[in-house]
Symmetry: C2
Subunit: 144 residues, 2 copies
């Protein structure tokens, strides 16, 4: 297996006569990807939803890693990501809202502000690849 800290790969193949692709990496369960009707048939995740999952999980990875380095314990973590598309082509997201829902008995709001700052500033690869092209707002809900 290749060293993923240097290089990553992914492949998709078209599986119908419209826009349904199946994507895979290594031994992971294949992902069905499709576009919304009428161009596609809603048979899977859209490309833009995969981007939201990519960004949300990358932010989550950075935030949890920093909190654990600070010896914080995490009871629950959910991340909800919403993207608002542009009206004109290219119809990517003009705004993405990322909400981190966290339950912990020792994480404070100051901790959250600090780790989110570090994540945005330097430690989230996916964030850094979208930054400047899309407004990204990260918020959190702590112990609710």
């Amino acid at each position: 297996m290749k060293n993923k800290s240097i290089e990553m790969q992914a492949s998709i193949r078209l599986v119908n006569d419209r826009l349904n692709f199946i994507g895979t990496v290594d031994e992971n369960d294949p992902i069905s990807i499709d576009y919304i009707a009428p161009l596609g048939d809603n048979l899977g995740y859209t490309s833009l939803e995969l981007l939201l999952l990519s960004l949300g999980s990358c932010i989550g990875t950075a935030v949890l890693t920093f909190l654990r380095k600070m010896n914080k314990s995490i009871t629950k973590c959910e991340i909800h990501t919403k993207g608002i598309r542009k009206e004109e082509h290219p119809t990517g997201f003009k705004n993405i809202f990322v909400e981190i829902e966290l339950v912990s008995d020792n994480v404070t709001k100051d901790d959250m502000d600090k780790v989110i700052y570090l994540t945005e500033d330097k430690y989230c690869p996916v964030y850094s690849m979208i930054k400047g092209n899309t407004n990204i707002e990260i918020s959190y809900i702590l112990n609710k």
Copy 2:
């Protein structure tokens, strides 16, 4: 269901005491997301692999849609995407190589050059959201 041409959403939740998330959108099969060892446990797609799948499928969707508008028939389409990471934080991709493998009895090289131009210029939302932050090279293999 929300109108996905306006807004899209995705959620993930942490499912172990490390970095394994499960992501879902609507009724699609859940996606296991994890980071590579030693931080994570390789229990799923990495965030950056999801980004490659997002970009590859978005480019594929645009390319196939344009070719079909030109009344071209597609026998096979696979898209292989490779990302080379930066050595320093944020360790996103400095280069992404996208190779479109297409089989068709009536698509020419000129057709491919034209639809790839349109895709890069304006019609691939994910491409437009990464453009400028990462070098993206799209190539193709026709009827091989």
